[in-house]
Amino acid sequence: MNPTRRRFVQLVVMIAGLGIAITSAAGDEEAHFVSERAAMVKDIATLARFTGSDSGRSVFDARVMSVLNRVPRHRFVPEDELGSAYANRPLSIGYGQTISQPYIVALMTDLLDLRPGHRVLEIGTGSGYQAAILAELVQQVYSIEIVAPLAEQARARLAALGYANIEVRNADGYYGWPEQAPFDAIVVTAAAGSIPPPLIQQLKTGGRLVIPVGSQFFTQTLMLVEKRDDGKLVTRELMPVAFVPLTGRH
């Protein structure tokens, strides 16, 4: 073996070794996230039981829970928040935006009563986490993000994770997505001061729209808008917290 060749073999062995080391470390990391994710889902189940009286849902749909246990939330959070990826709290993702608290994501998803054949519109892609959760449950997700760089990042991230049934568009969410309307469900992930009328128009009869009320770090209530079969709207205000503001006597 000539010296050059020997050095080449050494190099190959070294690189291979390094590769194995990295993969196994990554494997450990994945395993670590898997257990954190399971703990998060357990947390959510506990909270759901605890708050059921007011949200109207004491047990979330098993499919929603299993999807939460599958989607790698850590791939949607910024590097410096990796350690908190599965903590039950909202995280900042830059541009003044947040990735919602897992419990709120679960509750909002559950409230939509999704079926596998559904087509869902999302306003406010953000990191793309909510879109990924939806995509695992329905046929097709259309998601609109107003902040160009966020839309770009989410599109790339969702593609890398292999979600073929999500379309992300960088646009004004007000007008919805008329070409693909009507939708079985619409989820507005950003707290808004009003509900755009075009979104209501693009909701199927019998369809559901969910919108959080409050600031980004504090979801105070969830608005559930149902379009009844006669076309009339019923809105329901749900508290994510089981809290009775009056002491026992009344």
């Binding site: 007000y174 009003s194 105070q220 508290m239 809290f243």
Partner: protein, 807 residues
């Protein structure tokens, strides 16, 4: 150089440092209020003032060495203040602190601590300057402390002037220049005029050279303005700054703004083009494009909950309080108002709507039907006897505020029992008072408002308040009406029809049935409806007691409408925080409590550490009595200052003028008192001044002020300001005495302990500012005054035992 001139150099320097430090404190509140939110700014700045306490510790430990090299050290500290004031702010605004995340992320607590420690550095330098002067020239204590107080009084007034005349960044440049000027002027004592000149010139150069982007506050990423600017082609087209707020007007041509709070879901119309106006980077208001006449394109303005009163009054004369960018004025005209008086406190805001964007706004504020008045809303209500068919109050809070509850500790004189009574008295026979606000469950503000309205009506002698009240809600706003006459069947039919047409739910009107109150926006339990029933029922007090949030009516003595915090609810909300119950924590009150919880142990350390060092050198007999004396004085002074500020803000009716008059008069005349204290000391025991205050304060607050306020309520601003100053001045003269009296005594008996007393005074004022607001929230400003009187009585007792008149 004559001795008088040399002594003036030092006094002038002390006054300059003191003025610059106070101006810096007020500037910093504005700057951080823009970068973060006001309550976080208040917390950071109050804790940063611990720098004053640290200076006491530093001087107590190293003071003897400092005394020998007084001039260079004083000069260096003044220059240190000048440099750090600007630099520390520049660094601080780059610390990625996010107050909204405080309950979720413990890491934010560390960033908060980093912020206040960083910003304590300039205050440490400034206080060290003044402390050094008091130690090194202890024969002149009364005079130098007078310079300190007079300087602070001038600084308070100057800060408001600076913010009116200059940008905040240029305000910081002036602070830098003043610090260097103080560093220079002190050399006149040497005398070293050349060195003095060099330092002043250096200061001018440094101030001029600061890069503007270091000193210009950057609105944080979570505020409305920052988010709006992320949208393509959105840009700021006008910016104005004053002590009343930083105003930014934005246009968003690609993605139109569509800000219409409380718009019915039945509406399919898209709002007319709007320009956004942000105050301190948040609190969006809009200027709507208009062609000067009622137009079908604006029909949506009739489809919000705030349009309800127009169903009860026809072609009304309307008073819009807090008219801002003009949305409510436009709504009133669109819905048939024959005349509108638009009141807003901020002249820049009015000028933007009336002049800068007049064409866009269709000359709304110059419409012949509209009269614009620049005044404080409450001040306007009190000063005018005109009556109206409709009086509209501004929304009690912003959406962000409603979400985070952080406004809790800011007092407001617009949502008190007395304010509603005054407004009620301004209603014509068929007049209606309307208040629209953001709504979210479980109800807090809406119930408190309802309780306040019930109390106001009862106080006006109305036997059955329920017949004078109506309230409705949409999914995110609610509107409360308070009427002069009783609501008859025709009125309630109109309210019911309005609700049915727009899918709103009634909360209350005479004869409302329970099953009609929860049909469109269905809530699990109709707390608002039940609450309104209970508050009108036989035992409203019981309901208020049992409610888990503080919903007892706000009063002028406890003007904290936004505080709903009750300690007994805290454990339950904390336990539920994982499900987002943190949204229900009224963090304003909690933040004050948290700040106090940090200030007290820090202050203890700062006071005890030097004591160990000092005792080794020369023990002081009665050290605890001395400590208690200065602690009581430090606490009492700010108690009085803050309580009187609240009282006179209501009386004068202009927050800026009130702040200038109260702070300026109290501090300058306390300075006069300090300068006069040697004469008192020569003839009377130390405890005399404090005794006088203990007796005078309850009399002033309980007798003098009520009589004055009742008789001068309708006076113009300037006479009000003058009579306020004249009332405060004699009190302030006496308030300026106890501290220099005690300090001069200490300088004679145990000079090493002078810096210790200085530090105690500094720590006490930090604790005092936080404690005063907590006491005011829980017990009212009257109790704050009473507590101050008790503290002065305690100090007097200690003063009498300290020993009598000096030889």
């Amino acid at each position: 150089m004559s001795p008088l001139q040399t002594r003036s150099g030092l006094a002038l320097s002390v006054a300059l440092v003191s003025a610059a430090a106070l101006a810096y404190q007020l500037l910093l509140m504005r700057l951080l209020g823009i970068v973060h939110w006001y309550p976080f700014a208040a917390m950071i700045v109050s804790l940063a003032l611990l720098g004053h306490g640290i200076s006491g510790t530093v001087l107590a430990v190293w003071g003897s060495a400092a005394r020998r090299r007084f001039l260079p050290l004083f000069s260096a500290c003044a220059a240190g203040f000048a440099l750090s004031a600007a630099l520390c702010f520049a660094v601080a605004q780059r610390v990625p602190f996010n107050g909204l995340e405080l309950v979720w992320n413990p890491g934010q607590v560390l960033r908060l601590a980093l912020l206040y420690l960083l910003l304590s550095v300039p205050f440490l330098f400034a206080a060290t300057c003044i402390g050094l002067a008091l130690i090194a020239r202890d024969a002149q204590i009364a005079r130098l402390y007078a310079a300190d107080l007079v300087g602070a009084g001038i600084g308070a007034a100057a800060a408001i002037g600076l913010m009116l005349a200059l940008s905040l960044a240029d305000g910081l440049r002036v602070v830098t220049l003043s610090g260097f000027a103080a560093a220079g002027l002190v050399w006149l004592e040497a005398p070293r005029p050349r060195r003095a000149l060099a330092l002043v010139l250096l200061g001018a150069a440094v101030a001029w050279l600061w890069p503007a982007e270091w000193l210009t506050p950057q609105v944080n990423a979570f505020k409305g303005l920052s988010k709006a600017l992320l949208v393509e082609n959105t840009r700021v087209i006008a910016e104005r700054s004053s002590p009343l707020g930083l105003l930014d007007v934005i246009e968003s041509p690609s993605v139109p703004l569509r800000h219409v709070p409380g718009l019915s879901l039945t509406t399919t119309m898209e709002p007319a083009p709007q320009l956004g106006m942000f105050t301190d980077g948040d609190d969006l208001g809009v200027i709507t494009a208009w062609d000067g006449s009622a137009s079908p394109a604006l029909d949506y303005l009739g489809a919000t909950t705030s349009a309800l009163p127009f169903a009860l009054v026809s072609s009304p004369r309307v008073l819009v309080l807090g008219a801002g960018a003009g949305a409510d004025v436009l709504q009133a005209l669109q819905l048939g108002a024959r005349a509108v008086v638009a009141v807003d406190l901020n002249p820049q805001r009015v000028a933007l709507a009336r002049e800068t964007f007049a064409d866009f706004a269709g000359h709304l504020y110059s419409d012949p039907r509209v009269r614009v008045v620049i005044a404080d809303a409450r001040g306007y209500l009190r000063a005018n006897a005109e009556t109206f068919d409709l009086i509209e109050f501004p929304p009690a809070d912003s959406l962000a505020g409603a979400g985070a509850g952080v406004q809790a500790a800011a007092d407001s004189f617009l949502y008190t029992v007395e304010a509603l009574r005054e407004a009620h008295a301004r209603l014509g026979d068929r007049g209606v008072l309307a208040i629209t606000r953001w709504e979210s469950g479980p109800p807090r503000a809406s119930l408190k408002l309802f309780a306040t309205a019930v109390a106001a009506l009862r106080a006006q002698g109305v036997v059955d308040p329920g017949r004078h009240l109506a309230a409705i809600r949409s999914w995110n706003t609610s509107t409360l009406l308070l009427t002069r006459r009783t609501l008859d069947a025709e009125d309630t039919a109109r309210i019911a029809a309005f609700c049915d047409r727009l899918a709103f739910d009634p909360v209350h009107y005479p004869g409302l049935a329970a099953d009609s109150a929860n049909r469109y926006n269905i809530v699990t339990t109709p707390w608002l409806y039940q609450g309104a029933q209970a508050l009108l029922g036989p035992d409203p007090a019981q309901y208020v007691r049992d409610y888990k949030f503080a919903i007892a009516p706000a009063t002028d003595d406890r003007p904290f409408f936004h505080n709903f915090f009750r300690w007994r609810t805290l454990p339950e909300l904390w336990r539920l925080r994982g499900a987002g119950a943190a949204a229900l924590l009224d963090s304003g009150y909690l933040m004050l409590a948290a700040a106090l919880a940090q200030a007290v142990p820090l202050a203890l350390v700062l006071v005890l550490v030097p004591l160990l060092a000092l005792r080794r050198a020369a023990p002081l007999r009665g050290q605890w009595r001395t400590a208690a004396y200065f602690l009581a004085l430090g606490l009492a002074f700010l108690f009085v200052e803050l309580a009187l500020l609240s009282r006179f803000t209501l009386f004068i009716g202009s927050p800026l003028l009130a702040a200038t008059v109260v702070l300026g008069t109290l501090l300058v005349f306390a300075g006069v008192g300090s300068a006069a204290s040697p004469f008192v000391r020569a003839r009377h025991p130390i405890g005399l001044a404090a005794t006088a205050l203990a007796i005078a304060l309850p009399l002033v607050d309980g007798v003098v002020l009520p009589v004055l306020f009742a008789n001068a309520a309708a006076w113009a601003l300037v006479p009000k300001a003058l009579v306020s100053a004249a009332t405060l001045a004699p009190l302030a003269v006496v308030m300026g005495m106890p501290f220099p009296l005690g300090l001069a005594h200490l300088a004679q008996t145990a000079p090493g302990f002078v810096p210790w007393a200085w530090g105690i005074n500094g720590c006490a004022s930090v604790i005092s500012a936080l404690l005063a607001v907590l006491i005011a929230i829980d017990f009212g400003y009257g109790s704050v005054i009473f507590a101050a009187a008790a503290l002065y009585a305690f100090a007097a007792m200690l003063g009498w035992t300290m020993g009598g008149r000096s030889s």
